[in-house]
Symmetry: C2
Subunit: 423 residues, 2 copies
């Protein structure tokens, strides 16, 4: 048993921070938290005490929507909306992942960059290329980090070089299921690009696989108006975009992540709640692609679960702390424009989304309650407040780090109990 001492903060619920000032957290040999304490119990047996002093110890980040092959597109080409942006910038880049050497280089950088920004687990879109997708899974596995790895299926309205057939997708998934069985923290996820890119046959194959394997599903939903109109044309019998996935068994029949949901309301919102489909809020991406902002407070009031995603390269930055900022800020703009009808998101709410809510897709991950995996970051916020003249509580220090800090302030990173050094 190892014990870590620090200023411990986490969100067992979204309503508040659990704070243990100069508290203790005990982690067993499997990386599972045994307890968190204000004072270490008398006669508590442990092998090692690691004292992080006055630093902050928080759960690591979970990025629940991110496109690994788009790493090189980050921060450029911020002048288009979704559909032309995909055709002009993204699809040509993704085509390069037919080349395994290219995939090797970019995917290792991708895992390293996630690590740098404190993200220890992610739900990832790869491309249609099976060999490259294996490379991505191995990169996570070798780093000791967690992932849901999505071999993308897409077989229409896409350049031929970026299409696979349903049979190719099924075969690729089978190899992934086999090979990932030996990777404890890396699992496959069923990944239709989005309805416009998938024929009914592709969607049927995917729903069938979800039913047989109980694997989770991830895709995109109601990101922008042009896309929604297109889905209505393509799937006229579906009552809403979400229903188009539902009819194929891809909307909550197994655990499901749907990114964006900027225009989800009415029937679609209720279908999400009934089916326990999780909305992945990607506010940086939704700004950059001029998509619009999902009504997150309304989702929460309706009882729809919300997690966060960086969605690079729609999003411009991998840091989930940056994504948290935007989630709060965008909710404030909605608060104003709704004449205060929808209270804005609090720091504990967005922190919960990026930790415990997202972590649920990886098991017991994202909190410091007993039984949870010890996924953690040590934050050294020295230098973020001028000369320490202004006294700050641990929560204020965390807030300041979220708004002002960066990878320089993340001193240690743990995943499932193991300290992860530069992958």
């Amino acid at each position: 048993m190892k014990v870590y001492q620090a200023n411990i903060l986490f969100t067992s619920s979204s309503t508040h921070f659990d704070v243990y000032e100069r508290g203790y957290i005990a982690v067993d040999g499997c990386g599972i938290i045994q307890g968190v304490y204000h004072t270490l119990p008398e006669d508590f047996a442990y092998d090692q005490l690691v004292d992080f002093g006055d630093k902050l110890l928080i759960p690591a980040m979970n990025d629940m929507h991110v496109h690994a092959p788009q790493l090189g597109n980050m921060g450029i080409a911020m002048d288009m909306q979704l559909l032309p942006w995909l055709n002009t910038y993204i699809f040509p880049e993704e085509t390069k992942f037919a080349d395994e050497a290219y995939a090797e280089t970019i995917y290792h950088s991708f895992v390293s960059e996630l690590w740098r920004h404190g993200t220890m687990r992610a739900a990832v879109f790869a491309t249609v290329h099976t060999p490259a997708t294996h490379i991505l899974a191995r990169a996570f596995n070798e780093a000791g980090m967690g992932a849901l790895i999505g071999l993308v299926g897409m077989d229409r309205h896409t350049p031929a070089t970026l299409c696979n057939t349903p049979a190719e997708w099924v075969a690729g998934m089978q190899t992934l299921i086999e090979s990932l069985a030996s990777m404890p923290l890396v699992k496959p996820i069923i990944t239709p690009r989005f309805i416009p890119s998938c024929t009914p046959e592709m969607l049927r194959c995917m729903g069938e696989m979800a039913k047989q394997t109980l694997l989770p599903v991830q895709s995109h939903l109601s990101e922008n108006q042009q896309e929604i109109a297109w889905v209505h044309e393509l799937e006229p019998e579906a009552t809403c975009y979400g229903d188009a996935y539902y009819r194929y068994g891809l909307f909550g029949q197994t655990p499901t992540l749907m990114a964006h949901c900027c225009y989800t309301e009415g029937e679609e919102l209720h279908l999400m709640r009934e089916q326990n489909v999780c909305a992945v809020h990607c506010p940086t991406s939704n700004c950059n692609l001029a998509s619009g902002i999902a009504p997150i407070r309304k989702f929460l009031q309706t009882g729809v679960q919300v997690v966060l995603g960086s969605d690079i390269a729609g999003g411009h930055h991998l840091s989930m702390f940056r994504v948290m900022q935007y989630a709060v800020q965008m909710s404030k703009l909605q608060y104003v424009s709704s004449n205060s009808q929808y209270p804005f998101l609090t720091l504990s709410e967005v922190f919960y989304m990026a930790t415990k809510a997202g972590g649920a897709f990886f098991g017991r991950v994202g909190s410091f309650e007993p039984g949870y995996a010890f996924d953690a970051l040590v934050i050294d916020d020295h230098g973020l407040s001028p000369h320490h003249l202004i006294a700050s509580s641990p929560i204020e220090r965390l807030e300041r780090f979220v708004y002002l800090g960066d990878d320089r302030h993340i001193q240690h990173r743990f995943c499932q109990g193991q300290e992860i050094t530069q992958p």
Copy 2:
């Protein structure tokens, strides 16, 4: 004459970037640009050629609305709107600047932090304290950086510890005018906090001083609805918030910066145009304080000049590159919500705001045209693109730096021709 070689980018107009790949810029002994060249003219006489290789050379940033005493409030207390936030967090902190030792520490940190983020000139609010305001001016002067220094006037609806009388403000300004006469890059600016904090007598004194000295003016305008309603109560004869300043000679009678303008429209917008009043767009602050977003495209279409401000600690970050990002992103949300009526801002437009448009308040500053002061940053963007596998143009590299870079990528900083090392 010194000559610098690099990939040179600037915005002589807002519509596009002027790009000189591996170009040359010649700067005379007074720090004034003599020319910018694709190829150095034959027989061109110079003393020294400094080659920055493949790096980017761009104009330095101008922050046109920033509260120096709020440095310690940055990144915390993001849970209130303007008026309660001022009373709960900001005014207690500003009170501390009665203590000169405290002001010395914070103001030197402030100048150093501006420097770190590549801002070489700023229009700054200090507090009501004359000695502390002198300290702020000296800090800029010693650093060799430029500033408009605002001794704040406020004499109502404010804690007594943060009020000055009109006579105290006038006396303080006179000492500043005298002592700043010997500081080539630091000048005073007339600074009413905002209408609710200033009695008619204070505003009359300020307008009188503007008329006599021709000094510029800075203040806040139409930041949020509650504040606007309050101004209508306080100044019932004014036809709009802007008109309340105008009646006292503080709205374009001399060069004027008005921060926020989130709800400026109709008569106020036309008064701004007629009076050539400059809007300081502070999008980070307007998000954080749930103020709303100024309709910047409409301002530009109307012919109102727009510059950018970090507005810490309403804004959470001093980087003007971060502010540029938000300016583009918020304009994209307005583009969507207006059904594409207002095209979103381009990178060259927001770059122009942060360089040439803001720089105009300091003389010929913010561009690389002949006759302009050489205020410049050398950007080393190595590492921002994975393994340089993806070829990028200078404009793409600049865009990537704006979205992904930080102070680590700013390698050199020049103000008025002098390289400024850590102040």
